[in-house]
């Protein structure tokens, strides 16, 4: 872990750190149960539109090379 902050003004730096921590301490937090439920819900709602998850039929895959058929 490298620290590249100038060490000349330690007090100013310490004051800034405290100020920043006050901001971070004051935020509103939701419950992990709600956070988890929302993530699961989002995944569930969007799963059917997720090509990498659902697989892509060859006919709808723009990246799949269409091989020509030869009638022998």
């Amino acid at each position: 872990m490298s620290s590249k902050m100038p060490s000349s003004n330690n007090v100013t730096q310490a004051r800034r750190t405290v100020q920043q921590l006050k901001i971070e301490a004051s935020i509103e937090r939701i419950k992990v149960s709600k956070a988890s439920a929302d993530l699961m819900h989002y995944c569930g709602e969007h799963a059917k539109y997720d090509p990498l998850l659902m697989g892509i039929p060859a006919s709808e895959n723009p990246f799949k090379d269409k091989k020509p058929c030869a009638i022998l």
């Binding site: 590249k4 901001i23 971070e24 939701i30």
Partner: protein
């Protein structure tokens, strides 16, 4: 040194407060919450295209929003814009400095940007009048290497640097609008939220920070990693953040619960994560590793459900197109591969 001691105590108290507040809302874990969810079936993606043309290690790639074009940067000193469907090179842009570490495609498709050990972010106009791609701006102010850059629009770009800061630039004037300072180590990666109001940065101080772009403040800091964070991205709904680290793990942090929800790790994986991208729904996490592979994780269940093995060297960058149709990997083996 009375004041220093007081400030140190106050900082420690605040850190304890934050730890406590996070515990208070931890009424369950994501692991418990998804206990009844079925694991995603095995994901097997195939290489559909190989983009050949770079002559040295590829360090970065970024999809255009049109979902067919992408830009890649290599230490052969070139930025190449590719048509991923045809594998044609739309543009091959020679760079002043070959030590490039990042590249980005503007949402409009009009510009690309790159930077690296030159400490600058160079903006290129792809739609110049005479058809030639020229440097439009050179954004210089960072005192360390440019590790990542992302456009907000044709007039604003955010950069992250080895000088421990991130900067919001006005491309028109070529000047710094906002400097985001706070990390105690090199900033390695950044990602912009889906609503463009926030961005997150991952750094060598092992933390990820959430920044409010307009308020110019750091809102939250996330710890837990035991080494440098090399890669960072938003979960598609913007409410969670995924990080990838040299500690061989990826982590999911929820922004509203302000804490880590789960870690993606496996005793068999002992090398660093270089890059990551979620699939369109967020259910899959694709992560590139130093061992030349991409592991695909079920993001909710935190289990590996697939591997992309196809590169002959480190996977340095990965991206999923905005319509979710394909994943692109870039490698030190000088190739990009398109998978789906």
């Amino acid at each position: 040194m009375g004041e220093m001691e007081e400030l140190r105590k106050e900082a420690d108290n605040l850190k304890d407060q934050i730890t406590e507040a996070r515990k208070v809302v931890q009424d369950t874990t994501l692991q418990e919450a998804v206990a009844g969810t079925t694991l995603v079936g095995r994901v097997q993606l195939k290489t559909r295209k190989t983009l050949r043309g770079h002559l040295a290690k590829i360090y970065a790639m970024h999809w255009g929003t049109d979902t067919k074009l992408c830009v890649s940067a290599s230490q052969d000193g070139k930025l190449i814009v590719w048509d991923t469907l045809t594998t044609n090179k739309v543009n091959a842009i020679p760079l002043k400095s070959s030590w490039v570490m990042t590249c980005a495609y503007a949402p409009s498709g009009n510009m690309v940007a790159c930077g690296g050990l030159d400490n600058m972010c160079s903006i290129y106009n792809l739609k110049g009048k005479d058809g030639n791609v020229k440097v439009m701006r050179e954004l210089a102010a960072h005192t360390g290497y440019l590790s990542c850059c992302r456009f907000l629009s044709d007039s604003e770009i955010i950069t992250s640097s080895g000088d421990c800061t991130c900067i919001l630039w006005d491309i028109e004037t070529g000047t710094e609008k906002t400097i985001f300072a706070g990390h105690l180590g090199d900033c390695m990666s950044l990602a912009v939220s889906p609503d463009f109001k926030m961005f997150i940065s991952g750094a060598c101080d092992f933390t990820a920070k959430l920044w409010d772009i307009r308020e110019a403040t750091c809102r939250q800091t996330f710890s837990g990693h035991e080494s440098d964070i090399n890669a960072i991205g938003f979960f598609p709904n913007g409410n969670a953040v995924i990080t990838g680290s040299d500690d061989a793990t990826c982590k999911l942090y929820d922004l509203r619960a302000d804490q880590e929800l789960i870690t993606y790790q496996d005793s068999g994986i002992m090398c660093g994560v270089t890059s990551l991208a979620p699939s369109l729904s967020g259910r899959l996490l694709l992560a590139g590793y130093d061992d030349f592979n991409v592991n695909i994780w079920d993001m909710l269940k935190a289990e590996r459900v697939g591997v992309l093995a196809g590169h002959d060297n480190r996977v340095s960058c990965i991206g999923v197109s905005s319509d979710g149709m394909a994943c692109c990997t870039g490698s030190w083996d000088s190739f990009l591969k398109i998978w789906n």
